[in-house]
């Protein structure tokens, strides 16, 4: 009895030790995996450290960041313009006078329903008054309609990040090769982005509804 008591204590402590030890090892593995990914992510964010304002260094960092996003154009289909609406410059000349007062449009584009933060936003928060064939970012930088995702990503940053990774949006293409990307606007109407509900397809047959035909 004396021997078995010691033996049971020994076994208990060894087992506990193994459990804790393996738990620590597992945590080690997870940590190393996490830091490995952080290293990979750091390459994408060169301007993550806040720089001193108005210094040449800060300006060069911003320029570098902008240049990076210019280089990483993702292949997307052309924007789904309505018939005849583009190029906008066919109607809107560059030197036209522009009324920048937020208002409801009455002459043209009056059929357009705007429901995208319409209480605080209107057309020229995204569209560029002087050159209508481009969109305007908050920084003043102009982007093509082909890269409108940069504009959407200003407010919907996490979505843009997920979209670049292939995690947001309809997924087609090849899982081990080139993924096919769509523009945000291929699925989301930029003026009225909320999805309309769909009619679901037919429900499966219940077991009670199955009948057997005698041959």
């Amino acid at each position: 009895m004396h021997v078995s008591k010691h033996l049971s204590v020994f076994v208990t402590f060894t087992t506990l030790g193994l459990f804790f030890g393996s738990g620590l090892l597992y945590a080690e593995d997870k940590k190393s995996a996490g830091s490995g990914d952080k290293a990979a992510k750091a390459e994408e964010k060169p301007a993550s450290k806040p720089a001193a304002p108005d210094s040449a260094k800060a300006k060069s960092k911003v320029a570098f960041h902008a240049a990076q996003t210019d280089q990483d154009s993702i292949a997307v289909p052309s924007p789904p313009f309505s018939e005849g609406i583009f190029p906008c410059s066919e109607c809107h000349e560059a030197d036209d006078d522009v009324d920048l007062t937020p208002r409801k449009l009455e002459d043209e584009h009056d059929k357009l329903i705007f429901r995208h933060g319409s209480r605080d936003r209107w057309c020229f928060d995204c569209h560029n008054p002087k050159d209508r064939d481009k969109l305007r970012l908050a920084s003043g930088r102009l982007v093509d309609f082909k890269r409108s995702y940069l504009l959407c990503g200003q407010c919907h940053g996490p979505k843009l990040r997920d979209w670049r990774a292939g995690v947001h949006g309809k997924r087609t293409g090849s899982w081990n090769g080139k993924k096919q990307y769509l523009l945000c606007v291929n699925c989301h109407n930029p003026h009225m982005p909320k999805f309309k509900p769909l009619k679901p397809k037919k429900r499966p047959r219940k077991p009670s509804e199955i009948t057997y035909k005698k041959k």
Binding site: G166, L198, I210
Partner: protein, 311 residues
Amino acid sequence: MSKTPEEKNCPSDGGCGGGKSRRHFLKTAAGAIAATSYLAACDEASREKFFQKHFKELKDEDKKKIVARLEKEYEEKYKKKVKVGLEPPMEGVRFGYALDLSRCIGCRRCVYACTDENNQSREPEIQYIRVLEMKKEHGVELAHSDAYYEADKVPRKDHFYMPVACQQCENSPCERVCPVGATWKEPDGIVVVDYDWCIGCRYCMAACPYEARKFNWGEPTIPAKDVNPDMHYLGNRPRSKGVVEKCTFCIQRVRKGKYPACVEICPVGARKFGNMLDSKSEVRYILQKKRVFILKQELNTKPKFFYFYGA
């Protein structure tokens, strides 16, 4: 008067006669004649099918012959050219699937894309994916889920939707219980069924906690025009009556680098798929950054189908 075998206290198999009895001989002979005549009456194809070995035991030439025979059989049945592939698993690949519960609207387009791609019987109806409707206030509670919901528009207010199909478990109960070994996990993680080896006992259906497996109670029927001619031996080739089938992650597509049919059809982009061993794949991104859970975790089936909340 000679005594009867019973009076002589002889064993019933006729041991007293110094060998086997007449009864025993006649039984054996009848059995042998029946078997031989059955096999003789079969055509070449049926005989080959009868003696076909388990898929894992087949050599490459045997597989090619079998596939050629199957292609001929299906072409005769459906009057169109088909290709039954034998693509092996890719190296360094373990498939994973992720489904965004915050996005699924329950439109069931995945269900029908799957039946179109995988040549499932239309009558009796077989569908690999079951979309469950649940109330948001209850959360994921399978006991109160409804697979038979009908609505004019989805998503219905205060409801969310969870499609369930084969979870391709790492520790699959179905594989464990199969008495003949007709189902196994391939090196790329897909749990497959050899339809020519399955005896239709349905133990796997009893073992599966996700109701993922479907049985061909009747002779499956597909209209010839709806048959998808790109097939795989372990995947979407037409099944026969009396075998079990289930989602194979569209093995005929993914082994060629394509996405499963359900991933591509989803109109809201709720479904994601990829190689879990590739650190840059979507599935890895989701597993590392999103709130992920698996169904029936307490059963330790270790599924490769992950549900997450992307929004």
